[in-house]
Amino acid sequence: MSEPMLARQPASYSPASGFYDEVYAPGATPRPHAIPLAFELARLGADHLAAAGLRRDTAFVEQGITFEADEDGHVRDRPFPLDLVPRIIPAGEWNSIKRGLAQRIRALNHFVDDVYHAREIVREGIVPWELVVTRSHFARAAHGIRPPGGVYCHVAGCDLVRDSDGSWRVLEDNVRTPSGISYVLENRVAMTRLVPSLFRHYRVRPVDHYPQLLAAALRAVAPAAEGEATVVVWTPGPLNSAYFEHAFLARQMGVELVEASDLVVRDDVVYMRTTSGLQRVHAIYRRLDDDFIDPLEFRPDSLLGVPGLVRAYRAGTVALANAIGTGVADDKAIYHYVPDMIRFYLGEEPILQNVQTYLLGDKDVREECLNRRHELVFKPTGESGGKGVFIGPLTPKDELDALADVIREQPARWIAQEVVRLSTVPTALDDGTLSPRHVDLRPFAVFGEDIRIVPGGLTRVALVEGSMIVNSSRGGGSKDTWVLDDSGEGDDRAEHPMPQPVPPVLPDVRHGGWSGQQQQQQQGQ
């Protein structure tokens, strides 16, 4: 053993009281799993972190890993903000998150199937039908269609947060087109390049197999003979804010990235236009909402859609991921019922808890919530990405009063939630010093033959001090998320020699040299 790892909390670092800091426990000592991280961070020092930050920005701009941000009315390409301090999740904790997510996604999938078929959960009186049909993403067109394997939610991402006691809770479900996985993979690559020394004492589980999982899941549900399925990624186009991710996934999976004009439906079969004519498409990973996919079934004004697609889907000649109509399950009013769904469909107790949520349809509940409007969070039910969210304690009184009127008018379109005191993780400021910032976590699950979850996920961090808004469009950044490997827990990689498989004997590497050449010649003669 070399030098002992002593890592006190830096004097300048002070976690806000009442919040859970994931690295430093109260008393200013690092939590056990974070000791090596705190030690290496101290050894790196602020200057080095700041320098690495500059290299990161250059590299991201060069690689085109950027997003568009509004700055003083100008839209500019900014490097995607990756914080260089990773977030670490110990193996045991991750196992329970993983089981909780799989359970939840299985239940959501059952629910989608149920809603468009037998409606048992409605008949049992658990979820009111009135609420289901009024959801903006309820899709009549999906009625009676059962995709291959009964899988609807092929790609799912749930937003998790940690409350002040450190417990994990689900804040939101995402079973339409959750985005962010490309940043998970790119963040990891960038971290190994920029701050490799932080990895020294950890065994971090890799994340780069996600595209493989996704490709395998898409091929598994495609109506085609084994090994012959043509899979495509469907993007709304280069102007979409997530185009980077669409292109990234297509490239990583080695499949075509198509736009609506590349696809055509003939006799209920989907084809793409290629240089050698029409080619059959079996599975489409679509990155646009139901509303836009087929002008004949959904919004007739959609220019992004493919006429006839839903007919082909209904005929079973093409798989769509995610299936049509999944949006009904990630509606924020339906969220309230997910624990009940888990009990109803799976007969299990939920492993991951919800955040306390109030449906505002009931007059008494609504008035009670509106009376507490300065301490609750109000969210519109059909939105995602933090749009239209009002955080009571941070919103001026006159805005809240106006909001109350809006809610009274359309109570079914709103929910209220208790404020979650999001946990904090040390985050490097521009000058390299550390400061606590609030984080959430979006793990990504792929549901093909079974549910596979990439270790970790996208940790989003609110870069503004005290802020709890983590969306990248509103000043949020991200962190590389490390799930530790538990095989050989506690073993310190830097201390141990690598495993030594005996390499086979190879011929010597040859070297050039004219004199050697000459000698050989002379000896040969």
Partner: protein
């Protein structure tokens, strides 16, 4: 052209290609090693000790990451290091400065100067990826300049042949070390097949050309047989053949050309005729043996300066 110059050019090509492959492998192993690696001895293995074996560095006992990284990157005393490859290449280029274009010489010389610069040690310890990336880019620059600024004469043919043979040799060495030996009843595990593709530099090309997941067998078959990928063994062998065929005064009678031709056909045959259970490790071994004979043939036919021709063919 002078036999000595042909010999220098051939080795210049080899060292530039060797430097690039060394950088790619170091980068690949470095990255995959930071994350959990599979340690199933039946799977594809690509760690630091594999790397030492591939590059032909002597290994005395267990190696640590830091030790291997330092030795193989900037240590001028280590024959297998990136630094050694670049400095050999630069020495070679200096000898044939009059034959290659000034741009090519400058590209190599600058690379050498930057690598021997004072701040490089720090860069290796804080973020070696940037050093590897630099070498890969400079190598691409060198070959780009070769194709745009150098006369396509005999000299460029030897340069190309050297570069391509080195590529084939390096990929084969990598496969032979990384691939697990299989017994009769054992299933071949995939282990770090992905890291292998990354270290060879062909991950994206693989994704576009092969629908299968990047598992051991498809990955190895791709690196061996896929002609459409420029750094596969088959593509490198056939490019070396083309280069020599174009410059040989009597290619139909030339042992190296004939041998390369046969090897190229053999690879194509195996690609189409062998099933997935074929012993790829044995194929690698056989191809590499054949390549070393090609090497000897080239030395005999072109670099012996007439001695061999007078003495008659072997």
């Amino acid at each position: 052209m002078l036999a000595r110059i042909a010999h220098e050019l051939f080795w210049l090509g080899r060292y530039v290609a060797r430097a690039e492959h060394t950088a790619r492998m170091l980068d690949g192993v470095f990255q995959s090693d930071l994350q959990t690696s599979y340690e199933d001895p039946r799977g594809v293995q690509l760690g630091w000790s594999s790397l030492l074996a591939i590059l032909g560095a002597r290994s005395n006992g267990p190696t640590t990451r830091e030790n291997a990284l330092e030795r193989l990157t900037l240590d001028p005393a280590e024959q297998a290091s990136l630094m050694s490859c670049v400095s050999h290449a630069r020495e070679g280029a200096r000898t044939v400065r009059d034959v290659i274009s000034a741009d090519m010489w400058e590209a190599l010389n600058t690379t050498y100067l930057v690598l021997s610069g004072p701040e490089l040690n720090t860069r290796v310890s804080t973020g070696p990826a940037s050093v590897y990336r630099y070498v890969k880019e400079r190598s691409a620059l060198f070959w780009g300049l070769t194709s745009r600024t150098m006369l396509r004469d005999e000299a460029s043919a030897f340069l190309q042949a050297g570069g391509r043979i080195e590529t084939a040799d390096m990929v084969l060495r990598m496969l032979r070390v990384a691939l697990p030996a299989t017994g009769d009843d054992e299933v071949r595990r995939d282990g770090q097949a992905r890291a292998l593709l990354a270290a060879a530099g062909g991950f994206q090309a693989f994704r576009r050309s092969v629908p299968a997941p990047p598992n051991a067998v498809p990955a190895v078959r791709f690196l061996l047989y896929e002609r459409a990928y420029p750094d596969s063994v088959a593509a490198a062998v056939s490019a070396a053949e083309d280069a020599l065929e174009a410059t040989d005064r009597a290619p139909r009678n030339s042992a190296p050309v004939l041998r390369l031709n046969r090897l190229s056909a053999e690879l194509e045959f195996r690609r189409r005729a062998d099933d997935d259970d074929a012993d790829l490790l044995a194929v690698c071994e056989q191809v590499q043996r054949e390549l070393s004979l090609v090497d000897a043939d080239i030395a005999q036919r072109y670099f012996a300066g007439g001695a061999a021709t007078v003495a008659g063919a072997r």
